[in-house]
């Protein structure tokens, strides 16, 4: 439980962080809430040579309305998302389910996105919401869509010298949501998690989005299930039929507690439950 030796620096601005990242080389890492990175370091599964702490960089934290949606600072803690009365309900529900209160008090949305763990709650939510990640690097700023962000296990589209500056979420007014997280213990990562968003128009499914947590090496969209339900009349039968396709094409990582077969089964069960909640 003792990490390998590393250097530590506190950035005073985004530009300073970018500069230090460049100087620190490929083993330099940004430190946000530290609740993914530090445990890996303590287990010596990660050994960065330099940690650049973002806690004193101003303007990276908070939630504000912008362009009909929300602009969320990357250093916004999970607890702040959970307590927000404004954000789409599914964000609040997902953030409330992360680990325990101590972790939620420290962990950040930006850290979770940058870490790219397919077992984390927020990446699949971002994917379903079709959010955007804004970054800044030595060559300027850019926007990365959530669908492009998560590339592989713990691998994102972020360049080593890029800093996330904001995360934009649509308001998705008119959508109902369901968030189903299945874990052995309240504090565990999701064995499988389902984020469902449904826009109903007179009992017909006008739009549906389903995000899958821990069903692959990245967060996924259950596109087959979405297509099966979109345009259909919303009923327990149509939802159950669509949910049957929730695991189609997935190659979920198996572990001690869940085989691939069991995870696919869970995805179908939980998708049905999440869609029922989302369809109201």
């Amino acid at each position: 439980m003792i990490p390998a030796e590393f250097d530590y620096a506190v950035a005073d601005s985004v530009e300073d962080a970018i500069k230090r990242l460049g100087e620190g080389g490929e083993d330099a890492k940004l430190l946000a809430g530290g609740h993914s990175l530090l445990p890996l370091m303590k287990l010596r599964l990660a050994a960065p040579s330099l940690l650049i702490d973002l806690r004193k960089v101003s303007g990276l934290s908070g939630i504000e309305r912008a362009n009909g949606g929300f602009r969320v600072g990357p250093m916004t803690r999970h607890a702040e998302l959970a307590a927000s009365g404004e954000l789409p309900g599914v964000v609040t529900a997902a953030a409330s389910s992360i680990a325990d209160q101590q972790v939620r008090n420290r962990g950040t949305i930006g850290g979770s996105v940058a870490h790219g763990d397919p077992a984390s709650d927020l990446p699949a939510v971002l994917l379903a919401l079709e959010g955007t990640i804004s970054t800044q690097g030595p060559n300027g700023s850019r926007d990365i869509s959530a669908s492009e962000m998560f590339q592989d296990y713990l691998t994102t589209a972020l360049e080593p010298t890029e800093v996330i500056t904001s995360i934009t979420l649509p308001a998705l007014d008119g959508y109902g949501f369901g968030y189903e997280k299945f874990a052995r213990r309240a504090e565990d990562w999701a064995m499988v998690g389902i984020c469902a968003l449904v826009k109903s128009n007179g009992g017909t499914c006008e739009d549906v989005r389903i995000g899958l947590t821990h069903m692959g090496s990245t967060p996924l969209r259950a596109t087959a299930a979405e297509e099966a339900l979109r345009g259909q009349s919303l009923s327990p039968e149509s939802i159950a039929a669509a949910a049957q396709q929730a695991a189609d094409g997935t190659d979920p990582p198996a572990d001690l507690n869940a085989s691939q077969e069991y995870k696919r089964h869970l995805a179908r069960v939980l998708t049905r439950r999440a869609l029922e909640a989302a369809a109201g």
């Binding site: 439980m1 003792i2 325990d100 052995r184 213990r185 990562w189 064995m191 001690l256 507690n257 089964h265």
Partner: protein, 824 residues
């Protein structure tokens, strides 16, 4: 085997403090972070130790290169198994099953030539910086020649299995049996015999404070502060390990953050820090990481049992046979082989089984040692008995509580001698079950269960009625001339009244969360006439009180508490004599009333303990021939064990779509005799049940086929948290034990012993409509879901032979037909 005698001690006066739920005296310092644990301590010039551990489950060490570590800044020394000159003996295994050959492979604090489990200590790195030693340890290069891992305990017994200790030519460590009555005849004469293969998986202690040891050697004297449950025994063992005279060694157990048996040991690291401190002449501290705690702090359980239980059509059980295959790991610690044997002593449960037989085979595997973890053999036995009682009830078409009641040892039969030779000292099994049913209306439950099933909710109810053997003692029975453990089994106490009339109790018991400082103070205060606040309880230091046996096996109150009571009685007797002398009355006319020693019938003629202590320490006018002072010592060795019992019930909901089990209610009625402090009892019961719910639903130590531990952190080893546990409903009956004057029995392990079959039976009850009749723990969501998919019938046992290819896997292999009219 044992006889009943009435305790000699007189009944105390009406108690002022015993029986009250006083808050724990120890809690303020623990809760506010003011307590001192071993890791809080530093010594001048202290070195930190880091252990280089084997990455292989089974291998020959071909070379060790320590140069890289020695070159690391701040490193004082690196030692390997070749350097252990001065360690006089391998790690001791002192408590073995008696009368049989037990193979004891040499287990050195650092491996010599060969490693037998992942985590086996290979080298120790000592340096001035606690971070630096860990970096340096990574630079020790160990080359291994891998040998085959032996992971499956049943395959380890097969003729073609690789052998771990070549010198034995087998992986079989020992065989031991305990029986009474003719089991084969009993089963032959049965109308129904159920046969089940019962897997009780490996678990960890999971104490919140990992192990820490700090040794200091100066001027020929060694002091070890260690997170241990047995400071006095550890000192004795260290004197043999290090070839040092016992009086030159002091062992202190400072604040200890939980043990659950996992700190009842003489660990390699404890010997190693002492040896290194002596060799280097500097203090040495080793602090275990959580990953090390999961790897090399001993595990518990891990047995496969083939159980047969027979009965007549009317529900009279004829006999119970358990053939237990115990996974011991590759090397022993202090008492691994004896643990499954403890289960043999309660294999009758609370029933009048005419024939009972336990046959145990201990087996080496390339895993870490199993040893005592809360309950130690008795939870395993209780799980077999209480699971099979439900199975038998179903085969007979009989109500499961009616079956239990039919076979309970009746209240009027106590003390009851059992076929295996033990004497249950007291019991009222109907009484605890009746009380349980006051809290839980079975008929109402059944109506609710039926209604819920209409709505697709699968609710189940399970029971466990248990008896426990505890209060480890008496020496005559368990010691060298009896069961054969190489020790005496008593407890010491010294009550020292100070001149101002307050007192210190020195106890040989060594608490690590139990609450002795409060409960023992209540016992002493009532007996000598002061308040519990005026009784300081000192424990865990070989330099203060007399030799003591420590805390484990639910023995503290029944042996240590009784010892304290008897020492206090001696103090009171002397105090009464002094009071009688000074008040000019006869000693027999002095009564202790409301904290005053007064002359019977003359309330104005009275003295306080402070008055008497003053007279005892300023001896101007003491009775003729009386020594000054007021301090008494007691070594109490009881005549029998004590036998707590109780009835537990669990209500669960199973989500049949996901397999997840939710505890809806947990009701426990326990009988540990008259309560000294009900609050402490509830705390122990809550913790005990939580421990067992952890095993039943969440926790499992898992090694892969290569012998690699894959549950090395609390992410994978799923200890339950408050969020996973129900609010416990507890109640008690109080049947005094005739064994001691307090009438008390142990309670620290009761919840753990009782609980797992109640939960498992409840899950089976919930899933019966889906054809599920058997499931092994842990009842993880995936296992429950898979069991539902497979129809969940018990696997065949074929007279104890393994019948599937998956070892300890959960897959069923077809139903077992009950054997009609005799065993097949």
């Amino acid at each position: 085997m044992t006889t009943q005698v009435q305790p000699e001690t007189a009944k105390p006066e009406p108690s002022r403090y015993v029986g009250r739920s006083l808050r724990r005296k120890e809690d303020p310092r623990l809760i506010t972070g003011r307590a001192t644990y071993t890791d809080d301590m530093t010594m001048p010039g202290m070195l930190y130790a880091a252990i280089v551990r084997s990455t292989e489950a089974h291998a020959r060490i071909t070379s060790i290169d320590t140069q890289g570590a020695l070159d690391h800044p701040g490193i004082a020394a690196v030692f390997t198994g070749a350097d252990l000159e001065g360690v006089e003996a391998p790690i001791p295994m002192v408590w073995a099953p008696p009368g049989v050959e037990v193979k004891v492979p040499e287990h050195w604090p650092l491996a010599k030539d060969k490693v037998g489990y992942v985590g086996h200590a290979v080298a120790v790195v000592l340096g001035t910086d606690k971070y630096g030693v860990i970096d340096a340890a990574e630079k020790v290069i160990v080359d291994y020649e891998p040998l085959p891992a032996v992971v499956d305990v049943e395959k380890a017994l097969e003729a073609d299995s690789p052998v771990i200790h070549e010198e034995y030519g087998t992986n079989k460590c020992f065989e031991w049996s305990l029986g009474g009555g003719d089991i084969e005849a009993a089963l032959r004469d049965s109308d129904v015999v159920v046969e089940r293969r019962v897997v009780n998986h490996r678990t960890a202690g999971g104490a919140i404070e990992p192990r820490v040891s700090l040794a200091d050697y100066r001027a020929g004297n060694l002091t070890l502060w260690s997170s241990t449950q047995i400071p006095h025994i550890l000192r004795l063992l260290l004197s043999m390990q290090l070839g040092m005279s016992e009086e030159k060694i002091r062992v202190v157990a400072p604040e200890v953050g939980g043990g659950f048996g996992s700190k009842l040991n003489c660990y390699p690291e404890e010997v190693l820090v002492c040896w290194a401190a002596r060799k280097l002449g500097r203090a040495v501290k080793w602090t275990e990481t959580r990953s090390e705690n999961m790897t090399t702090t001993h595990h518990g359980r891990d047995q496969i049992a083939y159980v047969r239980m027979g009965a007549k059509r009317d529900g009279t059980v004829t006999g119970m046979h358990a053939r237990i295959i115990q996974d011991l790991g590759s090397y022993h610690l202090i008492e691994g082989p004896v643990i499954p044997c403890l289960g043999g002593f309660v294999m009758s449960g609370c029933y009048a089984f005419p024939a009972v037989q336990t046959d145990i085979v201990g087996v080496f595997t390339t895993k870490f040692a199993t040893d005592a973890i809360r309950g130690a053999g008795r939870p395993e036995a209780t799980h077999m008995i209480e699971m099979c009682m439900d199975q038998l009830a179903d085969e007979l078409g009989m109500d499961r509580l009616e079956l239990r009641r039919k076979n309970f040892i009746p209240k009027e039969d106590f003390p009851a001698e059992l076929p295996i030779g033990v004497i249950y000292d007291s019991g009222d099994y109907e009484g605890t079950l009746d009380k349980l049913l006051e809290h839980l209306d079975v008929d109402a439950f059944k109506r609710e269960q039926a209604e819920l099933r209409e709505r697709g909710v699968y609710r189940g109810l399970g029971f466990s009625t248990y008896v426990e053997i505890c209060g480890l003692a008496p020496s005559r029975v368990v010691g060298p001339g009896g069961f054969g453990l190489q020790a005496g089994y008593w407890e010491s106490a010294q009550v020292r009244v100070h001149p101002s009339g307050t007192a210190t109790l020195f106890t040989g018991s060594s608490p690590h969360g139990q609450g002795h400082e409060t409960g023992f103070a209540q016992i002493v205060a009532d007996r000598i006439g002061c308040t519990p606040d005026q009784v300081e309880v000192i424990h865990g230091d070989t330099q203060t009180g007399p030799f003591g046996m420590g805390t484990y096996g639910s023995r503290s109150l029944a042996v240590g508490g009784e010892s304290a009571a008897r020492a206090a009685e001696k103090v009171r007797a002397k105090a009464s004599e002094i009071a009688a002398h000074l008040l000019e009355a006869a000693p027999e006319d002095i009564e202790l009333n409301d904290g005053k020693y007064q002359v019977r019938g003359s309330p104005d003629k009275a003295m306080t303990l402070a008055d008497i202590a003053g007279a005892a320490y300023i001896p101007e006018d003491l009775p003729e021939g009386m020594e000054p002072g007021l301090s008494e010592q007691m070594f109490y060795d009881p005549e029998n064990f004590v036998w707590p019992f109780g009835a537990h019930a669990c209500v669960v909901d199973v989500d049949v779509d996901t397999g997840k089990v939710d505890i809806v209610r947990y009701v426990a009625v326990d009988d540990c005799g008259p309560a000294i402090n009900p609050l402490l009892i509830d705390g122990q019961v809550h913790g005990g049940i939580a421990h067992a719910l952890g095993q039943a639903l969440f926790e499992q130590v898992v090694y892969d086929d290569e012998g690699q531990l894959i549950t090395g952190t609390f992410v994978d080893y799923a200890l339950p948290t408050a969020a996973e546990l129900p609010s416990f409903e507890t109640d008690r009956t109080e049947t005094p034990s005739p064994t001691n004057s307090l009438g008390v029995k142990g309670i620290g392990e009761a919840g753990t012993i009782a609980c797992t079959p109640a939960v498992t039976n409840a899950v089976i009850d919930a899933l019966k409509p889906l054809g599920v009749t058997w499931i092994d723990m842990p009842l993880t969501p995936m296992r429950v879901w898979q069991t539902i998919q497979e129809g969940g019938a018990p696997r065949a046992t074929e007279q104890g032979r393994q019948v599937d290819e998956h070892g300890s896997g959960s897959a069923g292999s077809g139903p077992t037909a009950p054997t009609e009219g005799g065993a097949s």
